[in-house]
Symmetry: C2
Subunit: 338 residues, 2 copies
DNA sequence: CTGTGTTGCGACATAAATTGACGGCTTGCT
DNA sequence: AGCAAGCCGTCAATTTATGTCGCAACACAG
């Protein structure tokens, strides 16, 4: 194939989205790396030709011209999205919107937009598609705390490139925001919050920084100092996040009422789930699951619909939770007591 | 710009992923629509040239050659994903994997792969990125029931194009699978299941079909017969899905213990949430939320950490749930009783 | 302010490619 | 068998792409 066309494509992929930019000289080098040896002149001509068909922006003020791709511009996918794929993108957006911080979502926006356009344009003359599909999200529907535009970007880049970064941060118990230098070890997305795990320069111990408490972020091009034996999984399992009570999986055996918990049969809790009917109104399942907070919540709420046959300690746990809850709710303040 | 290169791009976008295909003749027509008038001969030549640089497949057995794009092939995005965008894709995958049926996810796979490669290749010589980020999912971590490859595809296409479709389906109370013709009205994704809402030809009433119970699907190119006044949102709110107890939002007032429920302060349950401290160990929040099943679960499990000040009926509800649960768990079968 | 190096751009000649046209050939269908 | 559609090789005319040169504009350092 005429390597011209391929070179065009390669060039297009090299031009970054707007805030960033690239110069002809850089392009020349990078093309060289890819095996295209062409004159600078050609690159200049190419860029101009391309900008008639693609949303390329030039800043002609700085002298090595700064070329960038329109920030919002639709992405071009090859091959074009087909209908099911586009629909899947829509679903993804519905699922992710309440889960990911808005800033992160914005990176996916051009892609979602492309999918959206495909759905509207392609075959659906009525444009009625949005009225045909609904996603019902689980959870309490809380809001995600807002994360600063730059902070997330800085932190992810620092993490991936193993650099330090500077954050303006105010922990819950700090009287006021401080500028801190962080050595990032890892990032944990846990439903409502995003945690940066790392050390703060000049202070002891591994910290968890809740990203929405940071207001500014800046990359520092200094290598991270990290203990060789740090391991994010071990850190999480150590209980530092207060999530998993234990690393041990739980072998769970439940006796469930039939109409109410039928969905357990069709959506097993784990890969090894075994189900067998006891009588017309009862069935038992046995399955290995992770010992999570959510599991306890669910069992607590379902206690009236099932018996926890095993493990005994978990049943005792739930019983205690129920007991404490009931005790408290019974001596609860009157509704109008504030 | 030389319209050759643009034509190449346009052609590439027209070639669908593998199971589907397109012929030179079709391409000629569609290119004509896009304003490229070229000989068939050129198109033939183009396709051959392109296939040296792109994973194009040809079936030369059928006589109008069938061209398609490699099903698994990496997508090409213009411009290339930058680091934060690629990371966001990774996160999206982590969040979505347990949420979406595998078949739907497979449509996103090429895109996730592209992101993955970007992360590994681009700037991260150590390839250590996967050890740096974790997503901790909520929920019980159950499996999604498997949905047949064709079924989801057929159903989405039927929905979008307003056609009927034929499914081999076995409802829970049917003795054996039957072939039914469905008039699809809408699709509802609700965490573990996907529901197709519509009518069955020759039977009364609007049905909910759980997609994983269908084994085959086939598009029927006949227009859907749907009441003009059908509205998916109204349908859901009518309680048909057994989700929302009421359409009415709940005005919730909680008195919470401080260290345990601190996260409510930072991740409000709703936009109008107001918080005020009572003393060092207690705070109150008031907020409007949807009356969902999940809300009740959560309140039940949190009963030991907070008082439900309002609404009284919800408190009574939770109290009843706790009471029944406790009663049941206390007279539960012994652990070794099976 | 002045040189120096870099970058952009117009022009031009050459090399390379694209393209349509034609004709022979295979394949599938009637 | 006959016909139509589609694939492919070939070729000449045309269009493009590319390197090179020269000049101008700009950036920067001294």
């Amino acid at each position: 194939m005429s390597n011209t066309a391929v070179r065009y494509l390669t060039m297009l992929r090299m031009v970054p989205r707007f805030p960033k930019s690239i110069t002809t000289t850089e392009l020349a080098e990078r093309l060289e790396d890819h095996g295209f040896s062409v004159t600078m002149r050609s690159i200049q001509r190419d860029l101009e030709k391309l900008s008639t068909d693609f949303p390329l922006l030039v800043d002609e003020n700085k002298r090595p011209f700064q070329w960038s791709f329109d920030r919002e511009a639709a992405m071009d996918i090859i091959p074009a999205l087909d209908l099911p794929a586009a629909l899947t993108f829509e679903l993804a957006r519905a699922y992710l919107s309440p889960m990911l911080p808005p800033r992160a979502l914005s990176h996916l926006k051009p892609h979602f937009d492309e999918a959206h356009r495909t759905l509207l344009r392609d075959k659906n003359p009525l444009g009625q598609w949005p009225s045909r599909v609904r996603v019902i999200n689980r959870g309490l529907g809380g809001q995600r705390p807002g994360i600063d535009a730059d902070v997330l970007e800085t932190v992810t880049e620092a993490l991936l490139r193993e650099y330090q970064c500077k954050l303006t941060y105010q922990a819950r118990n700090w009287p006021q925001p401080e500028d801190i230098v962080v050595h990032p070890f890892g990032l944990i997305f846990r439903d409502p919050n995003v945690y940066l795990i790392g050390t703060i320069e000049g202070r002891e111990g591994i910290r968890q920084l809740v990203l929405h408490r940071a207001t500014t972020g800046e990359l520092i091009e200094e290598p991270v100092e990290r203990p060789d034996d740090f391991d994010l999984d071990l850190y999480i399992r150590s209980g530092a996040m207060g999530i998993l009570r234990s690393d041990e999986p739980v072998f769970l055996r439940l006796r469930c009422d039939k109409p109410v918990l039928n969905h357990l049969i069709e959506s097993p809790l784990g890969f090894d789930q075994l189900t067998h009917d006891i009588d017309d109104n009862t069935f038992e399942i046995s399955v290995t699951v992770g010992d999570t907070q959510d599991l306890r919540w669910w069992l607590t709420a379902q206690a009236m619909h099932c018996d926890i046959l095993e493990p005994a300690w978990l049943r005792d746990d739930i019983e205690a939770t129920l007991e404490l809850g009931l005790k408290r709710i019974r001596r609860a303040p009157l509704s109008r007591s504030t």
